[in-house]
């Protein structure tokens, strides 16, 4: 099996990581970089708990080989807050009760963040469409949608 040394920017930090060819980005984040905020819920691209930004686009980290992110930028939930200050989306999730068990939350936050970057004033329908790949079993999504709406208002 081939091994590869890759260079990748994760949450703004340059990382050089030695990875086997069959390692997924999810495994690399959790096992090589100890970034366990990105969750493993299905390893099949069905639940979205492992959503990260790859060059600014939300993807399932379980569906990407680590080797493929060589030379690219990855943002995880750990990269959303800056200087101890919650990102506006995180803040809205906290305030609106968008968080229950919290296991889908990191992926939800990334998808929501990406949506607002592309579409600062989404309709409720657009929010729901953007979050379709992120399953939540606790909230029924109502508070999550509200949180994204609130974040959109807060971003101005």
């Amino acid at each position: 099996m081939s091994r590869h040394t890759i260079s990748v920017t994760v949450n703004g930090s340059a990382e050089y990581v030695d990875v086997p060819s069959n390692m997924t980005l999810l495994q690399m984040l959790r096992e090589k970089l100890a970034l366990t905020g990105t969750k493993n819920g299905c390893e099949a691209g069905e639940c979205g708990a492992c959503t990260v930004l790859l060059d600014g686009e939300p993807v399932n980290a379980c569906m990407v080989l680590a080797v493929e992110v060589d030379g690219r930028e990855v943002t995880t939930v750990e990269g959303l807050a800056h200087d101890g200050q919650l990102d506006v989306v995180q803040q809205a999730f906290v305030e609106e009760g968008g968080v229950q068990c919290g296991f889908c939350t990191p992926g939800m936050l990334i998808s929501a963040h990406s949506l607002l970057d592309r579409n600062p004033h989404p309709t409720e329908e657009e929010i729901r469409q953007a979050l379709v790949g992120n399953l939540c079993r606790c909230t029924g999504y109502t508070r999550i949608v509200r949180a994204v709406q609130k974040a959109a208002r807060g971003r101005v």
Binding site: E46, Q100, C101, V132, T142
Partner: protein
């Protein structure tokens, strides 16, 4: 039909400082920054990785099991089979709590030895240096099966001559309710309505699959970090592993959802065995597919209602039969069936009632707890039956219910007097009012329907289980507060509520409270996070423990201010004289005074639910539960009559929660619980064919996405009449229960024909319309009765 909310009885609830406020949850920050550590996030130095070898056959004799090649694989450290574990069983019973003698042998063995009874049954455990090696070793386990006849349908399992899953027969449990004189009740009925309803297997589908890490420490204690709803399983784990109770230490983590699926033991015994045998840390994490294969499912039920009614809708008698599929092993099937049996007639006064229920063993996946615990299945049936009764009588569904709703002081199915407020009509009319007028249909092919469901659901465990919870509350010298309580938090806000209660009682802010929870050795045992019991049980334990600390503080302050203790109060981290708030001290100074005087700054409180005795099994008459929650859910649907597709348009849940400790968390429960009920109604089904799961992953087992659910409006009513702290009732399970039957009723309203089996798939919608076009009633039979009650 336009509905108007029934005015609420006047209730004066005291204004509180912390309780009743939608405060930011104590666990929210860690969960949004990714810093909260879940059980799957733990690793240990020198850790091994485990895998479980499972049966592919649903019913077979193991002719040959050879793990020698797996053992020989470099990197494999340990392989265990049943041969290594003499008679280790996964006993889910608790001593002195069940009141029912369990049948020998029907508890699951930890590992199958000679026979496998369901596809997915564990057979061997592997621990290896890497996960890759452990997976390779799985492929090297050699097994030969001799297929045995299996039974895959609970009705077939109860027939003479059916293959027997556990000797002597497939009856796992039976319950019966005998109340009043059913024959006399039917004799005075004007009409008898009979229907049969079915509900499928469903999966909890928490986003966090089961996982854990175990290691042995210097005292030979096996420590297990795991996501579980029940840290008290340490006893069963100790028994299965063969060590004393005090050598198993569960360090529970915050859960990524539970819903009953992490109520039974999952990975714990496997981890403990491997840690004990290897004396190294071991990690085990299920894949999603293994999670679906390995943990319990919600019981499928077949429920038949035969109801006698007067023309005005009044129920004169009911005869209800229930059959549930227990799957291959016992687990909590008898209790799920008991809950279903007691809830069978719903929130209605039925003076003449006969319920017969039976749970059958099959070679299907085993079934156990799932939010709603049998009472949810019962509601799917009784609420559809109420709508069918209304239809037969030509009455409005609300009208039929109002005639029959229980009232405070009435007795339920087991003759237990309902002592708390019963705001059934208040809840139903509010839910319906909020639903509003029907949305106009966008085309002729689309029909709009509205429906609702009422319910009663117990909170707190069966009172003959003699349930207890403990909590320790203490004030630190700087005025900050510590709670120690073994409660597992599933994500619903269990620990937050306890913090809010302690903050209220001790007059501090929520940020001043820290809770240590979910540890079987270091936090006082609080019992299971199941049965909608934690707010009631541990909430009361915290309330009283904090109350004792408060009393001690006020007693000392009373001397300082020369005021009687009831002339003092605690707020904002200070003690003050009520009539002269300028006279005050920070809690830190008061704590220092207490400490100097050797006065207690902490209290360990043991809260006990009412203790009752088991009931006469011949009729089950007497008290069974501490109290009940009541409410309603209403929905509007659009049904495409040509494609069978159903779209949820509106959803409203209205529940009397007694007192909302944290209203934001209550709203979250109502919205989230009902979402599971909506999925139950429309799309969720673990499809099992000849014992094999055909929906093995989240690509086939569908749960609602953000596109499938509308906004659920949550209406909170507060009667203040519950037995929880500050008059709270439980809402965890009740939030789910009425949602599925509400959808079924809305779809029946849209189509004019009922689909008696969940889930309501497009296929079934078209089939039902076909049957209706053929002028055939679906599973329904109504008949006029003569005066003697015989069917005309």
């Amino acid at each position: 039909m336009k509905y108007t909310a029934k005015p609420l009885p006047k209730v004066e609830l005291p204004e509180l400082r912390q309780v009743g406020k939608p405060l930011r949850r104590v666990d929210a920050l860690g969960k949004t920054t990714g810093t909260t550590v879940y059980s799957g996030d733990f690793t240990m130095p020198n850790m091994l990785h485990a895998k479980v070898f499972r049966s592919r056959e649903p019913s077979a004799r193991i002719k040959r099991l050879d793990v020698s090649r797996a053992r020989a694989l470099p990197g494999v450290v340990c392989v265990l089979t049943a041969a290594d574990l003499p008679d280790a069983r996964l006993v889910t019973d608790m001593p002195g709590q069940t009141g029912q003698k369990r049948r020998a042998g029907s508890d699951a063995p930890v590992l199958a030895s000679d026979v496998v009874r369901f596809a997915g049954e564990p057979i061997a455990l592997i621990a290896a240096e890497t996960l890759a090696v452990a997976e390779q070793a799985l492929d090297l386990v050699e097994i030969e099966y001799e297929p045995l006849p299996g039974v895959f349908d609970p009705l077939a399992a109860l027939q003479p001559g059916a293959p027997v899953v556990h000797e002597p027969d497939n009856v796992v449990a039976r319950w019966k309710i005998r109340k009043g004189d059913v024959k006399a009740g039917f004799a005075v009925a004007d009409v008898v309505v009979e229907n049969t309803f079915r509900v499928p297997f469903i999966d909890h589908a928490y986003i966090e699959p089961e996982s854990g890490v175990a290691w042995m420490d210097g005292q030979d204690v096996i420590n297990i970090r795991v996501c579980t709803q029940v840290v008290e399983h340490f006893r069963s784990i100790a028994r299965a592993v063969g060590v004393p109770h005090n050598k198993i230490h569960i360090q529970g983590t915050l859960l990524g959802g539970g819903f009953g699926g992490k109520e039974d033991i999952t990975v714990e015994i496997f981890l403990a065995l491997l840690a004990k045998h290897t004396r190294r840390p071991v990690r085990l994490e299920y894949t999603r597919e293994e999670s679906i294969l390995a943990h319990s499912k919600r019981h499928p039920f077949i429920i038949t209602h035969r109801t006698g009614v007067k023309r005005n809708g009044r129920i004169t008698a009911a005869e209800i039969k229930m059959v549930s599929d227990s799957g291959a092993y016992l687990y909590l099937s008898p209790y799920v069936l008991l809950y279903a049996t007691i809830a069978a007639s719903g929130p209605y006064r039925v003076d003449h009632l006969k319920v017969d229920s039976v749970s059958a063993a099959t070679n299907n996946p085993f079934t156990s707890a799932f939010r709603g615990f049998g009472a949810a299945q019962a509601a799917v049936a009784y609420e559809q039956q109420m709508d069918e009764i209304a239809k037969v009588l030509g009455l409005d569904p609300l009208e039929v219910r109002c005639v029959n709703y229980l009232k405070t002081g009435d007795r339920n199915a087991t003759g237990q007097e309902i002592k708390s407020a019963v705001w059934l009509e208040e809840a139903a009319t509010r839910a319906l009012e909020a639903l509003g007028e029907k949305t106009p249909a966008p085309s002729d092919a689309v029909k709009i329907g509205q429906g609702f469901a009422s319910y009663l659901q117990s909170y707190g465990r069966i009172t003959w289980f003699h349930d207890t919870s403990r909590a320790w509350v203490g004030l630190e010298l700087d005025g900050s507060v510590v709670i120690r309580c073994g409660v597992p938090d599933l994500g619903a806000g269990q620990i937050n509520s306890l913090c809010q209660i302690a903050a209220e009682v001790l007059g501090v802010g929520l940020d001043d409270v820290t809770i240590y929870s979910t540890d079987s050795a270091l936090t006082p045992l609080a019992g299971t996070t199941t049965a909608t019991r934690q707010l009631y049980m541990s909430g009361n334990a915290v309330f009283h423990a904090a109350g004792a600390v408060r009393e001690s503080l006020l007693e000392r302050a009373s001397k300082h201010f020369e005021e009687p203790p009831d002339g003092l109060d605690l707020a904002e981290g200070r003690v003050f004289v009520k009539d002269d708030p300028e006279q005050s001290l920070p809690l830190s100074e008061l704590a220092a005074m207490c400490a100097a005087g050797g006065l207690p700054l902490a209290n360990l409180y043991l809260f006990k639910a009412p203790f009752t005795s088991t009931l006469d099994p011949e009729g089950l008459q007497g008290d069974v539960f501490p109290d009940f929650t009541f409410g309603a859910h209403a929905v509007e649907v659009a049904v495409d009559t040509e494609t069978g597709e159903i779209t949820l348009l509106k959803s409203v849940g209205c529940h009397d929660v007694g007192r909302a400790i944290n209203p934001a968390a209550v709203v979250g429960q109502i919205q989230g619980g009902s979402a599971q009920g909506l999925g139950y109604a429309l799309m969720e089904e673990v499809i099992v064919e000849e014992g094999i799961i055909r929906t093995p992953s989240l690509a086939e087992y569908l749960i609602p996405t953000a596109m499938d659910l509308p906004v659920t409006q949550a209406i909170i009513l507060e009667s203040g009449s519950g037995v929880g702290p500050f008059g709270a009732k439980g809402i965890g399970e009740p939030s789910l229960t009425p949602a599925a039957p509400a959808v079924a009723n809305a779809v029946a309203d849209a189509l004019g024909v009922r689909i008696p089996d969940l889930p309501l798939t497009p296929d079934k919608v078209l089939a039902a319309l076909d049957r209706a076009a053929g002028r055939e009633a679906v599973g329904a039979a109504a008949c006029e009765t003569d005066d003697d009650g015989s069917e005309a």
